[in-house]
């Protein structure tokens, strides 16, 4: 089962983890491993951050994340996938994104979780703008390393 949420409000990672554990239902105790990644707003030592503004393309965002999750289910034997991505103004230390994957096997859980993060980073229509304490606002530049990390999944089919 795939669950996608794009939301302003914070999420509880422990609660999301318990939702993934519910993939074990009654006699069907099939989960062997759960892999989770959360991304957080880091502060910038040289240019202190007031907040990070997350803009997105409503409608396309959900569609893009759903598509990425479906690709993961086609590539690996996963049980459940949960993706949460926040939008709006987030201060340093706040959670931005949650990706959780349950599977019978740890290889699949790890690979699907990392795949989703890598594809999300280069395909999901979010844009970050740093609002600094000194008043400057800087749009965050896309990183070549993110592009390279996304592309390595094309070779491993």
């Amino acid at each position: 089962m795939i669950s996608i949420s794009v939301q302003e409000k914070d999420f509880d990672t422990g609660e999301e983890y318990r939702e993934l554990q519910k993939g074990n239902t009654g006699a069907n105790t099939h989960i062997g491993g759960i892999a989770i990644f959360t991304g957080q707003v880091r502060d910038l030592p040289d240019k202190p951050l007031k907040f990070m503004r997350l803009e997105h393309y409503p409608g396309m965002t959900e569609k893009s994340l759903q598509h990425t999750a479906e690709q993961a289910t086609e590539r690996w034997p996963v049980i459940d996938i949960r993706i949460i991505h926040r939008i709006g103004d987030l201060t340093p230390g706040e959670q931005i994104v949650f990706v959780g994957v349950s599977s019978a096997h740890r290889e699949a859980a790890f690979a699907a979780c990392e795949f989703i993060m890598d594809i999300l980073k280069t395909s999901a229509p979010f844009w970050k703008k740093e609002q600094h304490l000194n008043g400057d606002g800087d749009w965050v530049d896309a990183k070549n390393t993110d592009q390279q990390r996304a592309e390595r999944w094309q070779d491993s089919d």
Binding site: G39, L54, E55, H56, Y57, G59, M60, K63, S64, H85, I96, V97, M117, L120, K121, T122, S123, A124, P125, F126, W127, K128, K129, W139, V140, D141, A142
Partner: protein
């Protein structure tokens, strides 16, 4: 057609949405990008960077993708979520 702009593009252009008829002679989203740049210096500056991504009906596409008047088209800089 509806043309949406996001991120730094939206800010540079001072608009997030354009509603207009599909211009004559424009068949692909790459051609639309070129046409929009003829609207003035700020358009040329913002859209002429060679670093614009395209979506048609909320799917990421390449510049050769055909568009028509009923499509929702979006232009935006490389994404930076996660």
């Amino acid at each position: 057609m509806k043309v949406l702009f996001f991120g730094s593009l939206r800010e540079q252009l001072g608009t997030g949405e354009l509603n207009a008829a599909l211009p004559d002679g424009v068949e692909t989203i790459g051609q639309l990008l070129a046409k929009l740049q003829t609207q003035g210096d700020e358009w040329k500056l913002a859209l002429g960077t060679g670093n614009v991504l395209f979506a048609v009906n909320q799917d990421m596409v390449d510049e050769n993708t055909a568009i028509n008047d009923s499509d929702e088209v979006a232009l935006f800089p490389p994404v930076t979520g996660g």
